[in-house]
């Protein structure tokens, strides 16, 4: 386990340095992640003018989006298409360490570039939070970061079966935006949809940390939501292992 952690830390460091030369591209990624919640902010501010929770929710959501962004369909799936994943398969270490390292490095850069403007925008627009709620939102944020990686990773693994991994991940992103709280806070969904959205993993990936940060989900409801998130993490971990094993068996490559 220590060896795995050391290897992951090394990979994060290497990728962090690699990405240091593409700071402008990182800023465009931050803009890309921020614009859906930003549009949500303006839409729902027009619907509920003067409601401070709308601004607080979407400002927190922008931060969650930036800190949980996952691009395994670009970083990993392309290596399947180009055949370079073979190099990783030959190394005496789990292949997933590479994508995890790159994922964390990208998130670090995105947080460096994206969080200061997000905090400033939240401050200027009048977002307010209670410190206790923010503290409670931290485990939810950590869970969202793990869950969103696992979700994107599983979708990215479909590259072993199809050339349209980007379409698969885009579709997955749509579900996440609709049912996860990016298009609208889950509490604003109509009754049955709200229940469905709370039971599915998307809320734990995106909206839950923001809901906890603004105090919309507290006490036993927050604990239950965190528990559901943990259950989804366990389920996705098992699923990722199964899909990986099956995909790696299917993978064939020609040439050196």
């Amino acid at each position: 386990m220590r060896r795995i952690l050391r290897l992951t830390a090394l990979r994060v460091r290497r990728q962090f340095l690699d990405w240091s030369g593409t700071w402008w591209f990182t800023i465009t990624l931050v803009a890309n992640e921020s614009l859906v919640p930003l549009a949500g902010l303006f839409v729902w501010s027009a619907v509920f003018p003067g409601d401070p929770r709308v601004v607080s929710y979407f400002a927190a959501l922008i931060a969650v989006q930036i800190m949980t962004a996952s691009y395994e369909n670009h970083t990993f799936s392309e290596t399947v298409y180009q055949g370079t994943v073979s190099h990783e398969l030959l190394r005496p270490q789990p292949v997933v360490i590479g994508p995890i390292g790159e994922n964390l490095a990208i998130r670090l850069w995105m947080a460096l570039f994206g969080l200061p403007p997000a905090v400033l925008a939240g401050f200027l627009l009048g977002a307010t939070y209670r410190p206790a709620d923010l503290l409670l939102a931290l485990p939810a944020l950590a869970g969202a970061a793990v869950l969103r990686f696992l979700y994107t990773w599983i979708l990215a693994l479909t590259a072993f079966w199809t050339e349209r991994v980007h379409a698969v991940v885009t579709f997955g992103g749509m579900l996440m935006a609709l049912l996860g709280g990016a298009v609208a806070p889950v509490s604003l969904l109509p009754g049955p949809w709200r229940t469905v959205a709370q039971a599915l993993p998307f809320h734990a990936m995106l909206g839950l940390p923001a809901d906890i940060a603004i105090g919309a989900v507290t006490g036993p409801a927050a604990v239950a939501a965190l528990g559901r998130g943990l259950a989804w993490i366990a389920a996705f971990t098992v699923l990722a292992a199964v899909v990986w094993r099956s995909g790696a068996r299917r993978y064939t490559v020609v040439g050196a």
Binding site: G21, T22, W24, F25, T28, L29, A31, N32, L35, V36, L38, A39, F42, V43, S45, A46, V47, F48, T162, E163, R164, A167, V168, T170, F171, M174, A177, L178, V183, A184, L188, L189, P190
Partner: protein
Amino acid sequence: MRKLARLFAAGFSMSLRRTLTFRTNLLFDVALAVAGLLSSLATVLLVFTHTDHLAGWTRPETFMLVGTYELLTGVKAAFLDPNLAWFPSRGIREGTLDTYLLQPAPSLFLASLATAAPLALVQAVLGLGVLGLGVYGHPPSPLGVAAWLLLVLAGAAVTWALGVLLACLAFWAPRLELDVFYNAIWQLARYPVGIYRRPLRLLLTYVIPLALIATTPAAALLRGPQPAALLTAAVAAATATALAATAWRLGLRRYTGATS
């Protein structure tokens, strides 16, 4: 001009034949277009469960706006994105542009419109369906339809010009990939411009005129032709096109080639 139209048709025909060879991909693209549209409609329906007006737009009016947005998004995805996506890396750094410069056709045309992703037009067709949904029961005047058509054409010209202008930046900064940014900011055109606060609204109206993509044409369909809007759109389209052509020429002067 006729030669360019023939080239455009030939490029589209080749792209269509190439696309239809891979039937499973076709299925994926159609499913994705339908899912994207349903997602847009779900958002609109959700908003209107909490209000009757969104920045002064009713539900059928918003459908008209979303339909117009989906129409132009489909056109952009079909004709602009397959050519200009990743232009800095493919066109400039890997030198694909060199092959365009050697061919007997305007390089700007070849770089920005030579190939197509015909299946993306499914989104445009679905957009027209949503537009029909909005118009149903509120038929617009013939003049309104004519103004809408003109404004959509102006919007398409601005869309093309903005794509070219962003791609042209790569002549000066080859590592600057702005199409992710363009696609991101494009999504803001999905809603009435009136919902955005003043600085952003001014930016989306005058600097990056995304208001022309959906809000202005849909407003023309609803309220009939507004001479000021038509004139502004024509000026914006002409200026943006001229700027794009000039930036391309200046960029080419600076370009030194990436291949031998």
